[in-house]
């Protein structure tokens, strides 16, 4: 995959990078907060619920025990025993019942949890079907549904059921105990009814009424409060205990089926108090927290989007400005339009670009000037090409005139001059072969021989292998001319020798004469006077073409002739 930092605009990359980073961080933050808080909530909830349930269960257990103990006392009541024992006449029965009532009243009213007492005896008194103590026929109990646990037990807690009372129908939880005659047969039952409200009030605790469930050792529901479905909750608890995940003999908690089940079992009580909390309730705080965080995150993201958009604009605008400026670049405009006030890297960039621009414009101007010069030179060269042809043609005509006049010398001179012109023009070329240069030199020397009538001799010692090297046009001629014009005064026999040395990469051309020579002082005077121009010209040209790899050395003493050494790099092409 291609690097997006190279592929997409900086602004887009910057914007999406920052925004996605923030979104990622926030999401992580919200998720972690949620997870941690759910875990904490579960821990706290089960801890506090266990504590609370333990306390409540202790209270319930105390109530339970007090009820159980009371029934023992009641079942051993002497009056009740007497009543069961004997066939009484009506008055004695009435008295016995009255005594039983008085004694039961004293007991039951001293324990607030007891609502009413039902006594099942054979031959119950007619009157007492209402009131705090009620009497029912003993054999009826077998047909009462909620009395069934008593069939095979001496005593049992009976599950929540409804009895009628002056307050209307009320729900009670009862403890029943069989009463045995002295001969050991069961002849009665004492049922102590406790208002379910009493247990529920205990189960509600002090804070609020949660969904709590009181079950006996066999997991039969004794009573429950809260709005939840008691059977469903019991099922959850049963599942837990069946799967052997939990030990129901001690306090504990577990999560099951989207609920948190916490229970309390006391050592001295068979009852288990269970609290079932829907999982939504546990996490509702966390959900709220997460929602709040999400809301804040949302706001933050919106702010971040705007902020990042603004920032990315701020960062990339100078670059865009620079780009636009580059695209709009024009030589005619004096200064590129760039934002001012940047003192940082952007400022440096702008200044750099500005400087670059200035230099480019300078170069442009130079180039233009050079171009103009070149044009002029080309024109001049063209013009120069035309003039020599006239001269050449004129010379040719002059030669013919001299031949017709019989002037052989003049004709010869004109012929040599023509040759010199031709080489001098060389079709405008700057470099010519050494051979051509030598031809030009010889032509000149022959003209001088003719003029001097045998007083001038010259020798050229240049092997054939060097003549194909190129040298700047008319490099040697000025020195020969100097020698001829200034070197020979009064000599009967003037000699000029031209030699060549191979100096590796360079050619060393030596021009030697036997003329009068000169001292350095005179050389300086002469140059300023007249003949210096030609040599200076050669020096300049050589410097221009070859630089320091070329040199001109003049060795001369008055009366001992002059030797000129010209060093030129070998050049086998034009």
């Amino acid at each position: 995959m291609k690097n997006p930092f190279k592929l997409y605009p900086i602004r887009t990359v910057f914007f999406f990078a920052v925004v996605s980073l923030i979104v990622l961080l926030l999401t992580l933050f919200v998720l972690v907060s949620y997870k941690v808080s759910v875990a904490e909530m579960q821990k706290n909830t089960s801890f506090y619920q266990q504590n609370l349930l333990g306390k409540i269960n202790e209270q319930i257990s105390m109530q339970k025990q007090s009820v159980e103990q009371v029934t023992i006392a009641m079942s051993r009541n002497e009056d009740l025993q007497d009543y069961l024992q004997s066939e009484n006449d009506p008055y004695e029965s009435l008295r016995a019942i009255s005594e039983i009532n008085t004694s039961f009243f004293n007991t039951m009213f001293s324990i607030p949890i007891i609502d009413t007492v039902d006594v099942y005896v054979e031959d119950p008194p007619v009157r007492y079907q209402e009131g705090p103590i009620r009497y029912f026929p003993f054999d009826h109990y077998e047909s009462i549904e909620w009395m069934q646990p008593l069939k095979n037990a001496d005593s049992a807690w009976l599950e929540q059921h409804v009895i009628s009372s002056p307050q209307g129908d009320i729900s009670v939880v009862s403890f029943a105990r069989k009463v045995y005659k002295r001969n050991g047969t069961a002849a009665g039952i004492i049922v102590v009814n406790t208002k379910t409200d009493r247990f529920l009030r205990l189960m509600d605790g002090e804070v609020d009424s949660r969904h709590r469930l009181l079950v006996d050792a066999k997991h039969n529901i004794i009573t429950y409060n809260g709005s939840g479905d008691a059977l469903a909750s019991l099922k959850v608890f049963d599942q837990l205990s069946e799967e052997d995940k939990i030990n129901t003999n001690v306090n504990g908690s577990a999560r099951q089926d989207e609920t948190l089940v916490v229970w309390s079992k006391l050592v001295n009580s068979e009852w288990i108090l269970i609290e079932v909390t829907p999982w939504e309730d546990i996490i509702s705080g966390s959900v709220k927290l997460a929602q709040l965080l999400l809301l804040i995150s949302g706001i933050t993201i919106v702010v971040t989007v705007f902020l990042t958009y603004y920032l990315s604009r701020q960062f990339t605008r100078p670059i865009e400005d620079l780009l636009r400026s580059m695209n709009d670049f024009s030589l005619n405009e004096h200064e590129p339009k760039l934002p001012a006030g940047y003192r940082n890297e952007f400022g440096a960039l702008f200044r750099g670009y500005f400087n670059l621009n200035t230099r480019i414009k300078g170069l442009y101007t130079n180039l233009e000037e050079e171009y103009q010069e070149k044009k002029k030179a080309e024109l001049a060269a063209l013009q120069a090409n035309i003039n020599p042809h006239f001269l050449y043609n004129t010379l040719d005509q002059l030669n013919w005139m001299a031949i017709e006049e019989g002037q052989e010398k003049i004709s010869r001179v004109l012929e040599l001059m023509g040759r010199m012109f031709r080489i001098g023009l060389s079709k405008g070329e700057t470099f010519i072969t050494l051979k051509e240069e030598l031809t030009h030199l010889e032509s000149y020397l022959q003209i001088q021989q003719i003029r001097l009538e045998g007083g001038l001799h010259y020798q050229i010692f240049i092997p054939e292998k060097y003549v194909h090297y190129y040298i700047p046009k008319l490099t040697l001629q000025p020195f020969i001319e100097n020698a001829v014009i200034h070197g020979f005064r009064g000599q009967e026999k003037a000699v000029i020798a031209i030699k060549i040395h191979d100096a590796g990469n360079s050619l060393c051309i030596v021009i030697q004469d036997n003329g009068i020579g000169f001292s350095k002082e005179t050389a300086v005077e002469k140059r300023t006077a007249d003949g210096g121009y030609g040599i200076k010209n050669v020096e300049d040209r050589l410097l221009a073409y070859f630089g320091s790899s070329s040199s001109i050395t003049i060795d001369s003493k008055p009366g001992a002739g002059t030797t000129v050494f010209i060093k030129i790099p070998k050049k086998s092409r034009k």
Binding site: S33, S37, D89, P90, Y91, L94, R95, S98, N101, T102, F105, N106, F109, S110, P112, P125, V126, R127, Q129, E130, G131, P132, I133, S165, P166, Q167, E206, V207, G285, L289, L292, L293, I296, I299, T300, V303, T304, L307, Y310
Partner: protein
């Protein structure tokens, strides 16, 4: 520019930090917000009575709760049976309800044992008859607020009398008239039905008999035993004869009665035609079979037998922690016109004269019968004597037991009288 954006960034950061903090705080707050009650008042309240009274009272409680949303009630209401046993145990355990329905025969006992709060302040009794208001005072302190005017009389099955073509009893009759009427009617009744309920073990009815004979109340003002032996033996033997003649209800039937219970009350089950009743209890009968029963003034002899008494009282337990709220409720109960309208005469004729006047127009026949009994009794009423400390216990237990023994014939009247006397001394000495 820089500063501005820095501020924005910082505040965004702050929002994060704060949100985390506030979540923590919310949690803490939740843990703290559990203690305060916010002025919630829960009043425990007990009374005895019949279904009709229960219903009316509960309605008044609803009305009060509506007007005082911070108040809730925890009510225990029952019949007369076991009421005083329970209250005695609760009082002994300092666990008595805040508001207690009190009866005259127990007032002395509870007040002198310091189990009732002084109600002299905080409840308006200006509209009440002074004598009535005084009936709730013990040693000049108001311990019980009377709830109604009451008179003891007899209730009879008016419809049955009409059907049998026998003239119904009228005010001004004598005890002999009553016995004669019973004997007249009995032959016309089916088997298992009786003209009159046996009053052998009802001290209240006997008290009227003794009063009409000019022998005074059953106790003296000083709290001395004042049952006149001769008069009492006369009374006992009369009923023994009536039982033997099959005119008065037999012992087994009498002791099995559950008063005011449609299935247990001898009058309501048509087992007897005449029995005793307070004016204030009349609605308990009339509500079961409207118009079937009549109230008649207690028979007289040389003097009138009847007397006016406060029907019942509201008292506040001394152990109550909410006495002011309890008083506020009682004040509402006796003085509020709306409450009075709901209550009607379920606790006797309203004690506030103003309310009684405003209500009289809308009185039903049942209400009018009550009013009439009170008015008729008032003409020549005997003074009221609530009885000394322990009197309630004596009436409900000792007298009753002795009465039962007499009815079942296991004791001779002379012996029974001695038993009563010694029982009284014993109870009084407690």
């Amino acid at each position: 520019m820089y500063k501005k954006w820095l501020t924005v960034l910082l505040s965004a950061l702050m929002v994060f930090v704060l949100s985390a903090c506030s979540a923590q705080q919310a949690q803490n707050q939740e843990e703290e917000d559990t203690g305060a009650d916010g002025g919630k008042v829960n009043l425990r309240m007990v009374w005895w009575g019949s279904q009709e009274r229960h219903d009316a009272t509960l309605k008044v409680l609803d009305l009060y709760k509506e007007k005082n949303p911070n108040v809730t009630f925890e009510t225990e209401f029952s019949g007369w049976e076991g009421y005083w046993d329970k209250l005695a145990t609760q009082s002994a355990a300092q666990n008595a309800p805040d508001i207690i329905q009190m009866d005259a025969q127990y007032l002395q006992e509870y007040a002198t044992r310091n189990q009732l709060a002084d109600l002299s302040e905080g409840i308006s009794i200006e509209d009440m008859d002074e004598t009535l208001a005084d009936s709730g005072k013990v040693n000049d302190k108001l311990y019980a607020v009377p709830l109604g005017n009451n008179a003891f009389g007899l209730v009879y099955n008016k419809a049955a009398f009409e059907k049998l073509g026998v003239a119904a009893p009228e005010a001004g009759w004598t005890w002999d008239d009553m016995f004669a009427l019973a004997r007249d009617v009995q032959p016309k009744l089916e088997d298992g039905k009786y003209a009159i309920r046996d009053f052998t073990y009802d001290p209240g009815v006997y008290e009227m008999y003794q009063l009409s004979k000019g022998k005074g109340h059953l106790t003296t003002e000083d709290g001395e035993f004042n049952i006149d032996k001769e008069t009492w033996k006369e009374w006992i033997s009369t009923f023994e004869q009536l039982r033997n003649e099959g005119v008065a209800s037999p012992a087994e039937m009498t002791v099995a009665e559950v008063e005011y219970d449609p299935k247990g009350d001898l009058l309501l089950t048509d087992a007897v035609l005449i029995k005793q009743s307070f004016a204030a209890q009349f609605p308990s009968y009339d509500s079961v079979k409207p118009g079937a029963y009549g109230l008649v003034k207690a028979p007289g002899d040389v003097e009138a037998g009847g007397y006016l008494k406060p029907s019942m009282f509201w008292s506040v337990s001394e152990s109550s922690k909410q006495k002011e709220e309890a008083k506020k409720f009682i004040d509402f109960f006796i003085n509020d016109p709306e409450a009075a309208e709901i209550l009607g005469v379920s606790r006797g004729l309203p004690v506030s004269n103003q309310i009684l006047d405003s209500m009289s127009e809308g009185f039903t026949d049942s209400d009018k019968a009550q009013l009439e009994l009170v008015n008729k009794t008032a003409e020549d009423a005997q003074p009221f004597n609530g009885g000394p400390q322990g009197w309630g216990d004596f009436q409900n237990n000792a007298y009753r037991q002795v009465g039962e023994q007499l009815m079942f014939g296991v004791i001779e009247p002379d012996q029974a009288f001695e038993e009563l006397k010694s029982q009284y001394e014993e109870i009084k000495g407690r």
